[in-house]
């Protein structure tokens, strides 16, 4: 390819990148069209080879990535505990249990899962080990170890699709309205999931729920106020009142439809006990962490933005926005409207929007300044400013007393 042709090809590729068709481009180069055509068509063909990742793969990859990160964090912090005390405690305890119960059964119980006949024995061995361990450090590392075992059991139950009641503790790694990730495990949040404490990344949570072929559904989650994983005593009530994960309201109206003024409102008095297949309207404020063409990340939550989404302001990453969205039964959140939050960056996590009245009737379609609790009064910046608040680290000293984690 000579230099002249190369320059022309560069120009052609520029035009192609601007969205012009090969035919139109080539019309400008009648003498070289024959030479340029196959090159330009190759380039145009390349753009059609693009592929997107599936959402499932993305989610799975994220889960794996977070689990790996968790492991790295653990190995980094475990070095402090000291290996010998743990080893000694484990050895003495196991020896005693083996003497009492017989080696075969104990060894066999090691891989038992909840629901298996030997599972009770496995837990007995653990609590014996626990009560025989002397130092606080040894107990702490055992608690860690057993917590890891509980999570491994859940993992195995999930990969086998086996239904069972489970309970485990772990660190919250991601919070989305429909699912959390707790120490690498995806925990599905249901409308009736009881949540005690303030959900926050990095905090330790005790999850009780049910496994099955469709994953792990949480019945209750209690979040500790302390950040320190390891000591996991009884679920302590934190100073904040229990909140439910997502605002729940069995609305049947979609926000984009305009209800004629004469329409009588549908009686929504009795909430149905089970989740309805209709989407639920939710509203929340948060910081924009990423903007993609069809998905936005707001405080860690992925929100689908489609052609029907009304984006009111020119919004960039880092800004605080108010989002109105439809939450579907499968957990998807599809935004119907995104606008800059009026408090413009103060962090109040007002996700209880129950007092929000309907946005579709005759009193002016454009009147959407309806957040009557607008956070600009009094600037209560207690909110979920999600980043490292190590301020409550010291509060876990209070937890040391009751390590009554040995159940059964």
């Amino acid at each position: 390819m000579d230099a002249q042709l190369e320059i022309k090809l560069i120009e052609c590729l520029d035009s192609l990148a601007q969205g012009e068709s090969p035919d139109r481009i080539l019309a400008r180069y009648p003498h070289e069209a024959a030479q340029l055509r196959p090159l330009l068509e190759t380039a145009a063909g390349l753009t059609t080879l693009r592929r997107e990742p599936s959402e499932a793969a993305k989610m799975q990859a994220r889960q794996k990535f977070m689990a790996q990160a968790d492991l790295l964090r653990r190995t980094a912090s475990r070095k402090k505990v000291g290996f010998l005390p743990r080893l000694a405690a484990g050895f003495i305890a196991t020896t005693l249990v083996v003497v009492v119960l017989g080696a075969g059964a104990v060894a066999a119980s090691g891989s038992a899962l909840p629901g298996d006949p030997l599972y009770g024995l496995k837990r007995t061995v653990e609590s014996t080990q626990f009560s025989l361990s002397g130092s606080a450090a040894a107990r702490e590392s055992l608690t860690d170890q057993f917590a890891q075992r509980r999570r491994d059991e859940v993992k195995q139950l999930l990969s086998a699709g086996r239904p069972s009641e489970v309970a485990f503790t772990g660190t919250i790694e991601a919070l989305q309205p429909e699912a959390w990730i707790v120490s690498g495990l995806v925990v599905q949040i249901q409308a009736n999931t009881q949540i005690v404490g303030t959900p926050q990344i990095n905090r330790v949570a005790e999850v009780r729920g049910v496994t099955g072929p469709n994953g792990l559904r949480a019945d209750s989650i209690s979040i500790e106020s302390s950040r320190e994983p390891g000591v996991t005593p009884t679920p302590e009530a934190t100073q904040t009142p229990p909140i439910t994960a997502t605002p729940e309201a069995p609305r049947t109206v979609t926000p984009t439809t305009m209800v004629p003024p004469t329409a009588t409102p549908r009686p929504t008095t009795t909430p149905r006990p089970t989740a309805t297949p209709q989407p639920v309207e939710v509203e929340f404020t948060g910081n924009v962490m990423a903007i993609d063409t069809e998905m936005w990340n707001i405080d860690g939550t992925t929100i689908v933005v489609d052609a029907n989404t009304e984006i009111r302001d020119s919004i960039t990453v880092g800004q605080r926005v108010q989002v109105r969205a439809l939450r579907y039964a499968d957990g998807r959140l599809i935004a119907t409207r995104i606008e800059l939050a009026e408090d413009g960056g103060g962090g109040n996590n007002s996700n209880s929007n129950d007092d929000q009245n309907s946005n579709e009737n005759q009193n002016g379609p454009d009147d959407n300044s309806n957040d009557d609790d607008g956070g600009d009064d009094g600037d209560n910046s207690n909110g979920n400013e999600n980043n490292h608040d190590t301020d409550d680290d010291d509060s876990n000293a209070a937890n040391e007393g009751e390590d009554s984690n040995d159940n059964d």
Partner: protein, 196 residues
Amino acid sequence: MIDYAVVTSFDGRTLPVQDELTLLSRARQLDPEALAHIHDTYYTSIFRYVVFRVSDHATAEDLTSEVFTRLLTALRDKHAPQNTLRGWLYGVAARVVSDHHRQTYRTPQVELDESLASTNPDPADIVEGKLTRESVQRAMQDLTEEQRHVLSLRFGSDMPIQDVARALGKSEGAIKQLQARAVAALARQLSPKVVD
């Protein structure tokens, strides 16, 4: 000289430089939130790059995952990227892909053609009856690594010229020339009738 206060990424997302630096410093502490943010921000772009160079979707998913695993080990071993996370990730993606190809070729029982052919050719993979993912990827093997990298960034990840230039530390003119030569070389490989 223009002082880039804001890095505008190629798919409309913006990440202020300061934020990326903050993000990186938090990632070095293995802060879960920062890591999740990095994964959410870059997974799709890296996947697009990788899948452009390996035809099999599942393999591309595995390799993309591997890129992020390498980020974690780099963070742990303290040789993580210092300032440009995105450029670093694409560099690692390029290495992961070539490692993969090298391994595939080294395995004696797998023929070159088989290794590149996807097991189930997707009908959408056949472009105008002649340009297929397989043929393109086979033809790409005869390009230089730099040419492959630029083509994958431009046509796989849809990254603008100026971003490619910044990621590779070259001028925009140099990238345009590289791209033109890569396209010409690829066209030659795909159809021997194309004259120089």
